[in-house]
C-alpha cells in the first residue's frame, strides 16, 4: 500500500470514528477542569489514579508534589543536623544552593520517586522455536527499576531526570553475536575476597532542565522522551495497561528519546477544550545521539493535541518527526604535508526518516478506549544503502525504502470493585528491522486483567498471541503468559 493511500484511509476512518465515539457518550460528568492536562510532575511520578493512566506532559509553573506519598526530602530547613553542618552549607553555597534573597532556591528539597515492576513470564508452545529464542523456561524478573529525580531551582525552573537501573548487559547476546549466545558480566569483587559478582548497568531515559514561565510556553533542554503518541512519554509500567507496550511503540518508529531542545505549552480554546503543543530540535537519530550528531542536519519534530472534557476525557493528537539517520566513523590519515593527522568521515549508512503518528484516547467513567497509529518512512541515500549477504536469503540484500507502520486499539473497563479492569488489545505491525534482517509482519492480541487495588500498585495478568502471516525467522505463532506487579514509589 502506498503511503498516500494508507494515510488517506486512516484519516477518513479517524474522521468518522472520533465524533461518533464522542456522540455516543451519555452525559458529561467530568468537572469543568477535568480536561486540563495534569502537571508534568504529577505525570512523571504517576502514582495517582488520575495520572497513572493518562498524562500529557505540560509545563506547570506551580510547585506540585511529585508523588502522593511523602517523598524523600533532603531539606536542610527540616533537618537540624543538616543546618548545623557548616561544611555542607558551604559546599551548597559554592554550588549556588544557598537561600539567598534574590534567586537561588525557593524549594530546597530534592525529590525522588519512580516505579518498578516484577513479572513472571512464560512462553507456551513447542520446544525449540520461540522458547529458545525468547525464554526457554518461565522466569521471574525485575523489568524496570526507574528512579525519578526532581529538583525545583526556581518557581519556573526545574530539573528532571530519570534513571533506569538494569541488570543488563548480563545474560544478553553481545552485538553481532547469535541470539542466545549469552554473555556474562562477572567480575571479581575486591570487597568480598574477590568472589564473583555480576555487574550491571544504568540507562538514562531523560534528563533535562525545564523553564516554564507561562502555561502556554515552556522550554526544555537535555535528553527528552520524544513527545509522540500516548505511551512513549507515559511509559511507566504502572501507567501501561498491558504488561508491555504495543509492538509499534516498542519498535521505535519514532526515536524513543532525543537530545536537544523542546518547546511546549498549552492553552484553552473553550470551556472544555484545550490545545497543547510540543516542538523539538534535536540531534535526531543515531547510535550515540546523546552527545554526537553524525550529520549536520538537525532533526525537527512536534506534537499537537486537543483535549476535550465535555464527554468524559477525550484527547486526540498528531505527531511528526523528520530527521536524518546516519551511521559513520572517522578515518585518520596523514595530511599531505606528512606532519599532521587529518580525519575523514566514512558514512556507513544514511537515510531520511519521516515519522507520522495519530492517537486518540477516550475515557468515560470506567471505559477506556485508546488507539495509536504510528508510521515511519525511511528513504536511503543511494551511496549509503548498506547491504550484505542475508543468511536466510542466501544472497546479497539491501534495505529498500519503505513505509513501516503499525496500529493498535485497546478497550478496557475499570470497575470500582477492587479497581479491576478487563482489557483487550489488538494490534498489527508491518516493519522491517535491519538488525534482525527480517520483516515483522505480525498481528497480535493481548487479553488480560489490570487490577489496581490501591493507586500506586497495579497487578496485571495477561495472555497474548502473535501470528506472522508471512512467516518469520522463527517458525510458529508466539504465545505468552505473563503476570506483572508494577508499583510507583
Amino acid at each position: 500500500m502506498s503511503a498516500r493511500r494508507f494515510w488517506a484511509l486512516y484519516i477518513a476512518a479517524l474522521a468518522y470514528v472520533a465524533p461518533l465515539a464522542a456522540a455516543q457518550a451519555q452525559s458529561p460528568v467530568a468537572p469543568p477542569n477535568a480536561a486540563q492536562e495534569p502537571s508534568p510532575i504529577a505525570s512523571e511520578g504517576a502514582p495517582a489514579q488520575a495520572t497513572v493512566e493518562s498524562a500529557e506532559q505540560q509545563p506547570a509553573p506551580v510547585v506540585t508534589p511529585l508523588v502522593a506519598a511523602e517523598p524523600l526530602q533532603l531539606d536542610a530547613a527540616a533537618n537540624p543536623a543538616a543546618t548545623s553542618d557548616e561544611m555542607v552549607m558551604t559546599e551548597l553555597a559554592k554550588l549556588g544552593l544557598d537561600a539567598a534573597a534574590d534567586g537561588g532556591v525557593v524549594d530546597t528539597s530534592l525529590k525522588f520517586s519512580g516505579f518498578a515492576d516484577f513479572a513472571l513470564t512464560g512462553v507456551f508452545g513447542r520446544e525449540g522455536d520461540w522458547r529458545g529464542a525468547y525464554e526457554r523456561f518461565s522466569a521471574f524478573s525485575i523489568g524496570n527499576f526507574n528512579l525519578y529525580t526532581d529538583k525545583r531551582l526556581l518557581e519556573s525552573l526545574r530539573m528532571f531526570g530519570e534513571i533506569r537501573f538494569t541488570f543488563l548487559p548480563n545474560g544478553t547476546a553481545p552485538p553481532g553475536a547469535a541470539p542466545g549466545d549469552y554473555q556474562q558480566t562477572g567480575a571479581e569483587d575486591y570487597a568480598n575476597f574477590k568472589r564473583p559478582v555480576s555487574w550491571a548497568g544504568i540507562y538514562i531515559p531523560r534528563v533535562y532542565l525545564e523553564w516554564t514561565p507561562y502555561r502556554f510556553f515552556g522550554v526544555r533542554g537535555g535528553v527528552i522522551l520524544t513527545p509522540y503518541g500516548i505511551w512513549n512519554v507515559d511509559h511507566g509500567s504502572p501507567t501501561i495497561i498491558p504488561v508491555q507496550r504495543p509492538f509499534v511503540v516498542g519498535q521505535a518508529l519514532f526515536p524513543e528519546r532525543q537530545t536537544g531542545i523542546e518547546l511546549l505549552g498549552q492553552f484553552d480554546i473553550g470551556h472544555h477544550s484545550t490545545i497543547g503543543y510540543h516542538l523539538t530540535l534535536t540531534n535526531g537519530l543515531g547510535a550515540v545521539n546523546e552527545y554526537r550528531d553524525y550529520d549536520d542536519n538537525k532533526a525537527i519534530g512536534g506534537r499537537l493535541y486537543w483535549s476535550f472534557d465535555g464527554l468524559g476525557q477525550l484527547r486526540v493528537g498528531a505527531s511528526a518527526f523528520y530527521g536524518q539517520d546516519t551511521t559513520a566513523h572517522e578515518m585518520a590519515s596523514f595530511a599531505p604535508d606528512g606532519q599532521h593527522v587529518v580525519f575523514t568521515q566514512k558514512i556507513d549508512q544514511q537515510s531520511d526518516v519521516l515519522a507520522l503518528a495519530g492517537d486518540v484516547q477516550w475515557k468515560y467513567r470506567g471505559l477506556h478506549l485508546q488507539t495509536e497509529l504510528i508510521t515511519q518512512q525511511r528513504r536511503y541515500k543511494d551511496a549509503a544503502r548498506p547491504g550484505s549477504s542475508n543468511p536466510f536469503f542466501g544472497r546479497y540484500l539491501a534495505p529498500s525504502d519503505r513505509l513501516n507502520w503499525g496500529i493498535y486499539g485497546l478497550v478496557g473497563y475499570r470497575f470500582d470493585w477492587f479497581g479491576i479492569m478487563p482489557y483487550f488489545l489488538a494490534q498489527f505491525m508491518d516493519a522491517f528491522d535491519p538488525a534482525a534482517g527480517a520483516l515483522y509482519f505480525v498481528n497480535s492480541f493481548f487479553a488480560g486483567i489490570n487490577i489496581r487495588p490501591i493507586d500506586v500498585l497495579v497487578i496485571k495478568i495477561e495472555y497474548n498471541q502473535s501470528h506472522f502471516p508471512r512467516g518469520f525467522i522463527i517458525a510458529g505463532d508466539t504465545q505468552l503468559g505473563q503476570v506483572q506487579v508494577a508499583w510507583a514509589f
Partner: protein, 182 residues
C-alpha cells in the same frame, strides 16, 4: 465545541499526514530492484550487476564479465590484469579465471547436498532460492575459501551451524554471521 475542536485538529493533521517521503516506483538504489519473499523485503542487484565492495550499492559488470557468486568475473576465455577490464587471455590466465583450487562446484545450482557431492563445494544452501553449492568447513581450515571469499560462521540456525562455516563473497557476511579466519 466538540466539532470546532475536532475541526481544528483535522486541519492540522491532514497536511501533516499528506507528507510523503518515499517514491513507490523507486525504492531501491541504482542497478537494484526490490524483492519480497516471505519475511524478507529488500533490494537485490539487477541481472548483470554485482554488489560493490563493502556492500553499498550495485554496479553493472563490464564487458566480457558475468556475475558469479555476486561478483563480476571474467567470462571463459577472458582474464583481468590487476583491476583492469577483462581481455582475451592466454591459456594460463584462462585456467585461473573461474576454477580456483578447492572451489569446484561453487555456486552450482542444486536441490540438495547430494547434487554437490564430488565437488569441493559440498553444502547446498536451500534455505531460500537461488539454491546453490557452497564450500563449507572453512572455519577450522579444513577447506579454504577462494581469494574473493571469506569464511562466514552462522550459528543461529542448526543447518548452517553444522557447516562449520561457508564461503561467501567478501563483505557479504552479515550479522548474526561472523567472519572467521582459520
Amino acid at each position: 465545541m466538540l466539532g470546532r475542536g475536532l475541526g481544528v485538529w483535522m486541519l492540522v493533521l491532514v497536511p501533516v499526514a499528506a507528507g510523503c517521503l518515499i517514491d513507490d516506483e523507486d525504492v531501491c538504489g541504482s542497478h537494484q530492484h526490490r524483492v519480497e519473499a516471505a519475511f524478507l523485503d529488500g533490494c537485490v542487484c539487477d541481472d548483470g550487476a554485482a554488489p560493490n565492495p563493502g556492500g553499498i550499492g550495485c554496479s553493472p559488470c563490464g564487458e566480457h564479465e558475468r556475475v558469479v557468486a555476486e561478483a563480476c568475473v571474467c567470462e571463459v576465455g577472458f582474464a583481468r590484469a590487476g583491476n583492469g577490464p577483462c581481455a582475451p587471455a592466454d591459456e594460463s590466465l584462462d585456467a585461473g579465471a573461474d576454477d580456483e583450487p578447492g572451489t569446484s562446484g561453487q555456486d552450482m545450482s542444486c536441490s540438495s547436498s547430494a547434487d554437490c557431492a564430488g565437488y569441493d563445494a559440498t553444502f547446498c544452501l536451500t534455505l531460500l532460492p537461488p539454491t546453490r553449492c557452497l564450500v563449507e568447513h572453512c572455519a577450522d581450515g579444513t577447506q579454504r575459501c577462494a581469494a574473493d571469499r571469506e569464511c562466514c560462521v552462522i550459528t543461529v540456525l542448526p543447518e548452517l551451524a553444522a557447516t562449520g562455516g561457508i564461503c561467501v563473497a567478501q563483505g557479504m557476511c552479515m550479522a548474526p554471521g561472523m567472519v572467521v579466519t582459520p
